[in-house]
Symmetry: D2
Subunit: 377 residues, 4 copies
């Protein structure tokens, strides 16, 4: 547990996923240049009054590199495991194979407001957008209406600007924070999580970092390193919940962002997206009907960025040979699995609108289960 | 030229596309229940001042049937010919094969604001969204920044509500109106256009209606019923333009909405989208690099709507056998071609920001060309 | 262990996957009407002589229902997790949403020969194909060249006819049989496997059956019910292998066929395919670069079949509401996971061309591992 | 009309498509290195006897460059306008973005036999396939059963080898030849056609070459340079036909191969495929229900080929900036349109099985129509 953190992460509890090493932060920010900013929106208590609150939400911004995402566009791909969700900007990523904006993640009904604010922010940064250029930013979402006055659209433009402007490298806050503030995972409190892996290919070292805004899964399905923790802890959680509210079946959603500094083409990044799906499966998700399970991958390898102002007629880029890509697949599966578990481990019990309560996963109970399944001494 | 119209349409000029008959309005509203509403936003003149104007823009709303698009969802599909554009809500249409919101079309940078307003409108209509439901509305766009202060985001929530609330069946205004206000087509002023076709299959009559917000194409490429009108009128237009501004190469975009009352599945509607692409080709488009050529098709055949509140475990639906679908393909190709030409014919010369001027296609000059190519007596 | 079997399956060893019950055969044939036929081709020993052998291969035929797959076409979908493989007939399944042939699975280089033979068989069954109809049968493959003289194309037309003609319901042979004869899974001998699940939705019971021809995965990645059996047994297997051949890294492929009698549309069957991918992940696959991980799903619910001779202009079909589909997702994930493990459990050590040897997974060693991980008493 | 040709092509008749110049052969072989080989299979007359004939078919082979397509793989993409057809090898092209075999085009029911023969040929050329490598060749087809004993599978392995071995650069035979021997286009005799365009981008010249095996379209829909030739010549053709056979409605198919030496990525080649669709539309196709309208594009720019034996860990490739791609779109649309028309112009009246007769388009009658529509002096 590093000095900057007050809470343990999965590895601090003695559980590791896969054999590959992590980066120094075990976070998407281990990919050099990637910056994350988050604004958490928390106010009010008690009964839902649409427009007043309570608010249990926020917004997360991810810049794909240290510069302007619009000015220097990076190879990117989007793929969908289950489409019950929104990710704007997809047509452009599909057609051009590049990401041309920061990535914003928020609640379902704030997509429009965050889109509008992101456009304003980009125009502020690049006044030439408008008369001469244009943008279609990537805004994704999951649904927090169980805790949050989601129809109240509480995320303001200023809060979006704050997330964009404050984004930085280094440690990334997890759990009830930013866009993940009011989210749930496998019946427990969920939210944001991150993890990374480092691989060696030839003479080079590359990092894969994953960030999730996690709000999916059903209690009985939760797996921790293959152990059926959901089934084991289910009866206990159901009893605790029963004092607060009726059992509910939660379909949720998850946004999975995969970053790497390995030189990959958009086609290869689409391959990483499909491995993110496999990582999600390892935590027990079956991609429920109502779940928006959306993945975006990008590579910020320096030589492959395209300058929007003055693209040369001929672009020379590098890519890893597909024959050498397996370690990146392994890294993506493992980092996705661990990022989701980190979100669960970090999240804390939250009381939201109408007194709705979502409980944190009790670490000690989970560790007892892991011991019984031969995973801890 | 019918009594309700002050301007001729393509057919009024003696030019027909294909052999199939049109519906009574020759519009998307010939599909029973389809309703169109438009708010045009026009204010200011002179130099661009971002946030002040001049405004040359608007928003168009299409309701897929006479009821609530959210409450009664209809089979739908989206396809992309060239992805340099935005259409939100696509993941849901792809995954569930239904459309669950009205369709809004506006300018590129107003997508966020229109999205936000549409959510507010849907929550107003259906307060159960938020605590218990959710939405991901379809908002599409083309770019009007040559004439409009697009970065000013001039479309207000009230204007979105007005388009949604005022939507009606019957005649549909074309040209410089609604979302199409500031758009261009093949070097001439463009904007909104619509057309329809009626087919008989077995003992039934079905209508295909197409609506376009057209902003694509290059002058030299324009074809009218196969005649190279763009090449013929190019020198004249270039001379006229030269007095106003430098020749510019325009990549644009087009949104094509295809409606039918034929009972089609989402898979079959995707087939119609691809025929919309073929119709676009007939007008001369090569789907330029920077063009967002996006298509959405829906069928509002009554028995196939799904009630969002209480879907039965087993849904019984009908669909046209694929073996009988060719007349609908023919109708889609022809109605798309004619809708685009109707947009050009209806549009009027517009002066926008910084004095930028886009000229209407001169009808008489076009008719002269058509005569020379054996198309008019 | 039922009377007809000489070998245990995963459940016979005390290991279950998920909570859902299986059908009577725990096989794809639990879906009423589905029939499986297999021809195993085994001859020769010693050094590879292309064209002579040794042959360690075969072909598997799956009829989607009790009648003619061409005459009565059923809703179907294909999806690809990793495309390093071949599945013919895909364009048709994509476009029309139906399967119009039996499904044949063989080795990579026999696709052509099996395609040719299948066409001959279909023309024999339906002489009207040719002058008036046509076919594009579904032939899929995995690569058995490590054991088999794959370039020798040893599968004959007669062997294809035999698989098609002998197909039956009931118990399905697993392991080194049919198309799976020479295949490997996670470093051990692999091949064919199957499993099923039964779900109740509303007042109805539906079956999901999965069949795999499995030839993918790397030793270290193998998971059995979440337990890292590959890592645990790796050193032992590597020692055994060392006496026979150099360690090799195997990329392989897997064909996953998902059958159900639930009334699902082609779009919904595509959703099942994606859940098959999640099941594959649970066994430890990361979908290696060189793996052809191809999935096909079909529903043979009786009222939804389309007669190729005389489709009515209007087809009336039923489908499960998507809101009720989750149990089928759960069933697909679990049955896929178990089918792959059944293939490994059933497969026996095989010596192929050039003395190449692939070892069966030793059941007792695996069970020891499972005990240590708290999965067996 | 060049010396090597006995028949006129579209341009020889005074009709040009678009403004771009052609390459020296106005053929796919204008792309340096592209080689085409064709075997025509013609024997027998009179009533259909399946297995005996009459045979009116063949096979066409296209090598993407002067070397081995397997050894040096080139960027490639496949797209489908309407999927009622077969193209094998698609999963690999989709996943890896490269073409790894020659392209073979034949009749629908000979796909298997041609696939088998192509594998044999590739193993002969590269004995390392089999024990250590593998292939999934691209075989595409259209249906010639109206003239040909298609169920007889008359294309032999030797004929496939001959097409592959005899392939050369230079002039390409059109009309009733190779895989196109028994095909129809828009009610007239069709078959093979080709065309090319040369563009200048920056300081470079690039060629786009298109080859089609054309068997699609309905009489009334045929457009020649936008002129409704099908409608004009329909009555005459119907009268002529009436002496021979009942009017039939033909759905057909078309295979469109797009080659270029411009350095394009697989993503960009997919963009060319969609422009091929637009070119098909210009000839009047609505992509009928039963038409397999399949497109494959490849770029053989030298530095971008991948060596299958020894890919480096990092590949450095070039690509044209998407911002500069429009001339290649224009070239693709025009060359596709002209290739189809060249196929019609070159094809000659053919009598096939059961005396079925398909008439060539009468050049003089077509020219009369073109004159009336102001296209010829």
């Amino acid at each position: 547990m590093d000095a900057q953190r007050s809470k343990p992460r999965l590895r601090d509890l003695g559980i590791t996923i896969g054999m590959l090493p992590t980066g120094p932060w075990n976070a998407i920010t281990d990919v050099p240049g990637v910056r994350v900013g988050q604004t958490t929106v928390l106010h009010g208590d008690g009964p839902l009054q649409v427009g007043s609150g309570p608010a249990r939400t926020g917004v997360t911004a991810i810049h794909p590199h240290e510069g302007s995402a619009w000015e220097w566009q990076v190879p990117s791909a989007i793929d969908i495991l289950n489409g019950a969700g929104e990710i704007t900007g997809r047509s452009l990523v599909d057609e051009f194979g590049v990401l041309g904006s920061p990535i914003l993640i928020t609640n379902t009904l704030s997509v429009g407001g965050v889109h509008r604010a992101t456009v304003d922010w980009m125009v502020r940064e690049h006044p030439e957008i408008g008369p001469g250029g244009w943008v279609a930013p990537v805004i994704a979402e999951t649904y927090d209406g169980h805790l949050n006055d989601i129809a109240g659209q509480h995320v303001t433009s200023e809060q979006v600007f704050a997330a964009l402007d404050s984004a930085s490298s280094g440690s990334v806050a997890e759990g009830n924070v930013g866009g993940g503030t009011g989210m749930m995972l496998f019946g427990f409190k969920g939210g944001n999580g991150t993890a990374s892996r480092v691989v060696e290919i030839g003479d080079e070292r590359y990092t894969v970092g994953v960030f999730v805004q996690g709000n999916c899964g059903r209690l009985d399905d939760l797996l921790v390193a293959g152990v059926p923790v959901g089934q084991e802890l289910g009866p206990m959680l159901r009893e605790r919940r029963a004092q607060h509210e009726a059992e509910r079946d939660h379909d949720g959603s998850i946004i999975i962002i995969i970053a790497t500094d390995a030189p990959l083409s958009d086609r290869q990044l689409a391959r990483l997206c499909r491995r993110g799906m496999l990582g999600l499966s390892r935590v027990g998700s079956i991609a429920h009907h109502g779940s928006g399970d959306l993945l975006l991958a990008f590579s910020n390898a320096e030589g492959n960025r395209v300058n929007v102002h003055a693209p040369a007629p001929i672009l020379t880029t590098t890519r890893l040979s597909d024959e050498y890509i397996n370690p990146l697949f392994q890294a993506t599966v493992a980092a996705t699995e661990e990022a989701i578990l980190n979100a669960i481990i970090a999240a804390e019990t939250m009381i939201g609108r109408d007194g709705n309560t979502v409980f944190a996963l009790p670490h000690d109970d989970m560790l007892d289960v892991m011991r019984r399944y031969g995973r801890l001494a």
